[in-house]
Symmetry: C2
Subunit: 313 residues, 2 copies
């Protein structure tokens, strides 16, 4: 059997011609790994991702090492990869101290991590939503003053484990405020993976009504219930052209109690390749990168595309 391991390209009308993938594997994917990954392995991971054609790779987080020991090597890692030509390397900054560290290393893009719900703001930041936004405001302002691009993550946009359904207007309001304070991109996070396509469309409509243009939006879906790719398709139909994904589906354990697996970049690229939507990504090189990373971590990738393609090699 000489398997044809590529989709046939058949464009669908009304979709963007090009999608920029915001690769989150090195930061969001690795941050929950309990065994610390050597910094050289992380740097090689970022280099291989760039080599596979990814143009935006979220490299690390300048969070306090006590909170996320896995990313305590941010100061060592960032200079190892910051010279990659044509690759944007955003870094997460939780607060002003994180921004100081990012600026000191010459980072050109940062991201802040906000919540659409009070429960998660309390759990993650020990603040109310308003208090968290007030904390981020001077960080974003200062980053913008330094000429940095700033991304605002908004978590729990489609459901919250404590609150259940999250009102669309509440999410749209948080997004508008982040945009107003200077975030040039907002990443809508389905942190617990409960979204479905009609919900995606309704939230994007609500954001339009709130005055947040679709050109500033990214989507960040989790595959907890297998819904990430169909939700992405709904977002593409609505004009979204920036999609977050994690190489090999790294991030959380899809089989664990708190199942929070990120959308696998390979599963996304397969769909976009089939739709004739340009990403610049070489699926074969990306898959090989995820297979290599899975070997470093000592367990198989949960990505269906990675599993299928690597078993055919």
């Amino acid at each position: 059997m000489t398997a044809s391991a590529l989709p046939m390209t058949v464009p669908a009308p009304g979709l963007p011609a090009r999608v920029r993938i915001h690769e989150v594997g090195p930061r969001d994917g690795l941050q929950n790994e309990s065994a610390v990954v050597p910094v050289e392995t992380k740097a090689e991971f970022v280099r291989r991702l760039a080599g596979a054609g990814l143009t935006t790779v979220e490299a690390t987080s300048f969070v306090h090492p006590k909170w996320v020991p896995q990313l305590a090597d941010a100061e060592q890692l960032f200079p190892m990869v910051s010279g990659l030509p044509g690759v944007r390397l955003p870094v997460l900054v939780p607060n002003g101290r994180g921004l100081d560290r990012a600026l000191a290393l010459g980072a050109r893009e940062v991201a802040v991590f906000a919540s659409a719900t009070e429960s998660f703001a309390k759990a993650n930041l020990n603040r109310t939503v308003d208090e968290a936004l007030a904390m981020f405001e001077p960080v974003v302002t200062r980053a913008v003053e330094h000429g940095l691009r700033v991304r605002g993550y908004v978590s729990m946009c489609f459901g919250d484990p404590w609150e259940g359904a999250v009102p669309l207007a509440q999410v749209a309001g948080v997004c508008r405020r982040l945009a107003e304070m200077g975030c040039d991109e907002l990443s809508l996070g389905d942190t617990i993976g409960v979204a479905t396509p009609g919900h995606v469309t309704a939230l994007l409509d609500a954001l339009g009504e709130e005055g947040v243009p679709v050109s500033r939006l990214a989507v960040h879906f989790h595959d907890t219930y297998g819904q990430a790719l169909s939700n992405t398709l709904a977002a593409l139909r609505h004009g979204v052209s920036v999609v977050d994904a994690s190489a090999g589906g790294l991030g959380g354990c899809p089989y664990a109690k708190s199942a929070t697996g990120n959308l696998a970049t390979e599963d996304l690229v397969w769909m976009l390749d089939g739709l004739g939507i340009e990403t610049g990504v070489d699926l074969g090189r990306l898959t090989a990168t995820s297979v290599w990373m899975a070997e470093q971590l000592g367990r198989p990738s949960p990505s269906r595309t990675v599993r299928a393609l690597s078993h055919k090699e």
Copy 2:
């Protein structure tokens, strides 16, 4: 954490109000299991699926026992479940002998299994596509004469492991011929899982041009590359309202070389529940059924929804 383990219902315009799920777990799901499942377990599986609200459950195949030893108990199984009220129980019949056996037991629906490609017709039936259709014609005619509904499976509709891309007109031609000989439903199979949403839409357009109405179509996607649900969404947007799925994602091994995992019924129901599309299925009871079946088979379900919901229980 009191997890809200259900999607928020937000309908999307332009989709069917109701979808009939054609559950294939007991036949397509189990047929490749190497260890023979006891007939009482199979009967209990069908009963539990019906109890979860599935109204069409493909029960077994009247194939020669030498070809599919797992389904050699068709004569014992069918009478054990054929009295379930309100449940359609189609059975696969490979040929006239199979139809005889199905008729003898009082089956009211049968299915034949055709191929869109010469390579798979040769591999699966040792016939050309034309020879296979010529073999099915008297079977379908006789079934219709007996007042049975007949479903025609068409495999390799989106790609073929030997031939690569499959021309749309070739698939549409096979479907038209099956419809003309009396099949009242055609199930479009993405046997190797390579389809993407634009391809789905293009094939449905081609079928419309060939004169096959969408009301007679079902879709049968495989999750080999994680694409089954987004392809289903594309088909729903085109008016398809019958979707094949396998409880717990049974069928083939998604992690093996010949990765051919069926779309998991639970992942499908999650999306349809979220879209407000009626199926009559109780997701909790269905998930419990797949967890039970996974215990019988001695390995976990590959369905992301089953894994997520069962870990939260």
